[in-house]
């Protein structure tokens, strides 16, 4: 356990410190939600119906932005070699990196999501559901996005590749979360969508590390 605890501590410290920690993603998130009313008109009657959806979509995009470089630094500076000669399987290392990413960036974004939605005119009662979707969805985004980040290692224009790989994998959780949020807004019961989202998140947490580790091994070797 001791090596893993040391790794988690280090990843969290790096996550908070690296390039301002969650601030770039939060800034991007704030920019989308602030610019929308400026671009589309600040009429509450038009904003309120899309407020929840926009907050949710912006969360997916902000997560994607922060994930691009999840493995790149380690790949370039020999960090992956060091991590691969440790006692834990690479799958677990990848999972720890994604989890740390979620704690340092995903969770702050999830806390910002209800605030943004309410600001845009969503009812206050929707906030808990948005928070729940954002927490679960953010975890799925972190793990699924890690696959793209790992596959893009060593390639030029990695950012484009990450977007192309990850977008299809981001769609299901966006749809499930969106369905839950819509149902919540209409009062028809959000449980179904939320459960689907949680299922996708669990699958992502369980399966993504296998793909990430394979991609990292491939890039290193």
């Amino acid at each position: 356990m001791r090596p893993l605890i040391a790794l988690i501590e280090r990843e969290l410290a790096l996550g908070w410190g690296r390039g301002g920690g969650p601030l770039p993603a939060l800034g991007f998130y704030a920019a989308i939600t602030v610019l929308l009313p400026l671009a589309g008109g600040s009429d509450t009657g038009r904003l309120a119906p899309v407020a929840v959806g926009v907050a949710w979509m912006a969360l997916a995009l902000a997560s994607l932005l922060s994930l691009e470089r999840l493995f790149e630094r380690d790949f370039e500076d020999g960090g992956l070699d060091l991590l691969m000669t440790g006692p834990a399987p690479l799958e677990l290392v990848c999972a720890v990196k994604c989890l740390s990413q979620w704690i340092t960036t995903g969770a702050p974004l999830a806390l910002a999501a209800p605030v943004a939605a309410v600001m845009l005119g969503a009812p206050l009662e929707a906030a808990p559901l948005i928070l729940a979707c954002s927490l679960a969805g953010g975890l799925a985004f972190a793990f699924v996005g890690g696959i793209g980040a790992a596959l893009a290692l060593g390639s030029r224009r990695g950012g484009l590749l990450v977007a192309a790989i990850v977008l299809p994998l981001f769609s299901p959780p966006v749809i499930f979360g969106g369905a839950a949020l819509q149902a919540g807004a209409l009062g028809t019961g959000a449980t179904g969508g939320l459960l689907l989202l949680l299922g996708w998140t669990l699958a992502a947490v369980g399966l993504s590390p296998l793909a990430m580790a394979a991609a990292c091994r491939n890039a290193v070797g």
Binding site: P3, A6, G79, L80, D81
Partner: protein, 201 residues
């Protein structure tokens, strides 16, 4: 414990280029081997292949005496080279502690590494503020703080000054005396008795 590393018929390809083929040597416990060759001949790739990080296209690398040669590989080696995996924004002490904990050493090992590699004055500095030689010593600290049988060293002496080279030579002698193995890619001769293998293109 590893009693020998046997490499035979090894060929490594990077991209389209075949770096070398039919490379073979044997390294026994208590021995050092100096690996020479021109820039780009594949010394670093060979070290990474022995560490199990890079898959050779042909040949075998066997760790004799290991209980489970494949499973044990990652945990039997230390690979120290230019790309050391240390993070610029962390302090030397933080990275020292992480290396030790991650690679299976204890607090006792950290204290010993600080003493034997004269790291005391560097501990509070951020890694990015260290000179190349200081940074190399920090990376080499893992050899002491988390003992492992096979050291894979890529140009270990290059950034070090004369006094620190003597420190490292002493570490290497101690490691060999304890039955360890050292495989080092070098341009200058190692300061300890060592077999030599040249990678010819």
């Amino acid at each position: 414990m590893i009693t020998a590393v046997a490499v035979s018929g090894l060929a490594i390809r990077r991209g389209e280029r075949l770096l070398f083929k039919d490379l073979g040597f044997r390294l026994e416990a208590g021995e050092a081997l100096a690996l020479t060759g021109a820039n780009g001949s594949g010394k670093t790739s060979l070290l990474r292949a022995v560490a199990g990080l890079l898959r050779p296209v042909a040949g075998s690398i066997a760790f004799e005496g290991a209980a489970d040669p494949d499973a044990a590989r990652h945990e039997a080696v230390h690979l120290v080279g230019h790309a050391d995996g240390l993070k610029g924004g962390r302090t030397a002490l933080e990275e020292l502690r992480f290396q030790a904990a991650w690679l299976g050493g204890g607090d006792h090992g950290v204290a010993e590494a600080i003493e034997r590699l004269a790291l005391g004055p560097l501990l509070d500095l951020e890694v990015r503020r260290l000179s190349a030689g200081q940074r190399r010593r920090l990376a080499l600290a893992r050899l002491v703080s988390a003992p492992r049988p096979l050291w894979l060293l890529d140009e270990p002496m290059a950034p070090l000054d004369a006094a620190r080279r003597a420190l490292l030579a002493e570490l290497m002698r101690g490691h060999l005396a304890g039955g360890g193995l050292i495989l080092a890619a070098v341009h200058d001769p190692l300061p300890i008795p060592a077999k030599a293998v040249e990678i010819a293109v």
